[in-house]
């Protein structure tokens, strides 16, 4: 996935809405979620990842697992509302994927979007990049 085509949360998760519809009433609208390259770079030295549970219902801002580095542990927050459909089972044993390919092999979960799921609070790539640049200073 191209980072330019993704939506981002303030807490550095990315979302890709699978399929063309961004707002859908269809039950099968899904999104893929991961953490951004900026977040991975900021964490450095990852040692542990806890995936969410399949079937787990999440609201935006609720925990979608956690990622731990040598320095500290951080929550991964769900950027969307929905139900966890699938998780990247191999990722906890292949944490290097988060650094090498955060928008591809480093995906964390697929979420079936809730009917009323909104993406309005999320940023596009330009806005997110600007926020990251500001955070660095």
């Amino acid at each position: 996935m191209k980072p330019e085509e993704l939506k981002y949360a303030k807490t550095h998760e990315w979302v890709h809405v699978d399929g063309s519809k961004e707002h859908s009433d269809e039950a099968d609208a899904t999104a893929t979620v991961g953490i951004s390259a900026f977040a991975v770079e900021a964490l450095t030295d990852l040692v542990f990842l806890e995936l969410p549970r399949v079937g787990q219902q999440v609201q935006p801002g609720e925990s979608l697992g956690e990622v731990e580095s040598v320095k500290a542990v951080s929550d991964i927050y769900s950027p969307v509302a929905g139900e966890v459909l699938e998780v990247n089972q191999e990722l906890p044993e292949s944490l290097e994927w988060l650094g090498e390919d955060p928008y591809g092999r480093g995906w964390i979960a697929r979420v079936r979007l809730a009917k009323d799921a909104s993406l309005e609070h999320l940023m596009d790539h330009a806005a997110y990049s600007k926020m990251c640049a500001e955070e660095e200073h």
């Binding site: 030295d45 542990f48 320095k71």
Partner: protein
């Protein structure tokens, strides 16, 4: 916020290098330049250089200097031969720890002096404590001259199995004949310096005190020499994982005003017999109390790292707390130090740690986690 923090003479260099900077003890310090694990391993296998200019440095002179320090420290220092360094605890009236310090006895043109290196975050508190004690002991400024030299100097550490080579290359002097915990005046890169064979990493190494104005040029030369042996500059994050593996206490974690050196397992640095110092009588009492929590080492069986404040449990009962924890780069396992009730302090005891709501198994192990091979 950052503008109120004190900066080391290398601050601009760290920033230009792209280091992650953060507050530590009131100073803006480099936390990491890149990977913490990379910096850690470079120090264990080659050499690492550290900016530790934030450490507080006080000079004591005068006829009462040695006696004054002896009345404040857990072991005597007045008897230190010139050129020797000693670790000691400054204790409060209750036997808790005001700070842990390194005392060096040296002499220069103005005569003999004691250099006391304190933790950055405790420097102001220690100064107030020293003022109070000096008044209470009725010592005049004629008997005791104290000078805070922290801000006119820079303090750099070179640590690791190849630190001797790094230093020799830069200084043109071979310091490897110095024994551990000794110090000397020397010329380093044409500047006057105090060089000591000390450190906070569990590796062989040296700490250098130089005038602030030469810090950057010396640092640059040390780094070039360091890189020749596969080393690098190292931030405070790796300094923390290095000292944790070596089981060296960090004030605010393993030591505090409420924790005595005895609980911390620092008996080697406490001499109670035949002397008087602030906290001595309290320590004699504390030594008889067997139920006090004790410092232990823990190795986790999972992947999560225990962190400061996490609860340690046994059979569903709270038995203590983690004081420092991390993922050990050397062991590639979670390690921690903490305080537990003494009956759980035996090596091999199985405990659990509450890792953010989840119990994970851990085992009490002997400290340190890492000990370098002395060849």
């Amino acid at each position: 916020m950052t503008s109120t923090l004190t900066q080391t003479p290398l601050h601009a260099w760290h920033t230009a290098r792209g280091a992650k900077m953060a507050e530590f003890g009131g100073w803006s310090m480099p936390i990491q330049y890149g990977s913490i694990v990379g910096e850690h391993r470079a120090t264990r296998t080659g050499a690492g250089i550290f900016d530790i200019s934030h450490m507080g440095r006080f000079i004591f002179r005068g006829s009462a200097a040695g006696d004054f320090l002896d009345r404040l420290l857990s072991r005597p220092v007045a008897d230190l031969e010139e050129g020797r360094v000693r670790y000691a605890l400054m204790t409060n009236h209750e036997g808790g720890t005001v700070d842990d310090v390194l005392v060096t006895h040296l002499r220069n043109a103005e005569g003999p002096f004691f250099l006391v290196v304190v933790n950055a975050g405790n420097a102001d508190k220690v100064l107030r404590w020293l003022d109070e004690r000096q008044q209470a002991f009725d010592l005049t400024d004629a008997d005791l001259i104290r000078e805070d030299v922290t801000h006119q100097q820079s303090m750099l550490a070179v640590q690791g199995p190849r630190s001797a080579e790094v230093l020799t290359t830069v200084c043109g002097t071979d310091f490897s004949a110095m024994t551990y915990y000794t110090a000397t005046h020397a010329t380093v890169d044409t500047s006057p310096a105090i060089v000591s064979r000390t450190g906070y990493t569990g590796e062989d190494g040296w700490e250098l005190i130089v005038p602030a104005e030469v810090a950057e040029s010396l640092w640059q030369k040390l780094l070039e020499s360091c890189e020749q042996v596969g080393g690098t500059c190292v931030g405070l994050a790796a300094r923390d994982t290095l000292r944790l593996e070596a089981a060296m206490p960090l004030y605010g974690h393993e030591l505090s005003e409420e924790i005595s050196p005895l609980q911390a397992g620092l008996e080697f640095a406490v001499k109670l017999e035949g002397r008087e110092f602030v906290g001595r009588d309290a320590l004699v009492q504390l030594a008889t109390r067997e139920h006090l929590p004790r410092r232990i080492g823990l190795v986790g069986h999972g992947r999560r790292a225990p962190r400061d404040g996490y609860q340690i449990c046994s059979g569903g009962r709270l038995i203590g707390h983690v004081s420092s924890g991390t993922h050990s780069p050397t062991l590639d396992r979670p390690i921690a130090m903490g305080y537990v009730e003494p009956e759980f302090a035996t090596v091999g005891t199985a405990v659990s740690i509450d890792m953010r709501g989840r119990e994970e198994a851990a085992e009490v192990v002997a400290l340190p986690f890492y000990k370098r091979l002395v060849t």
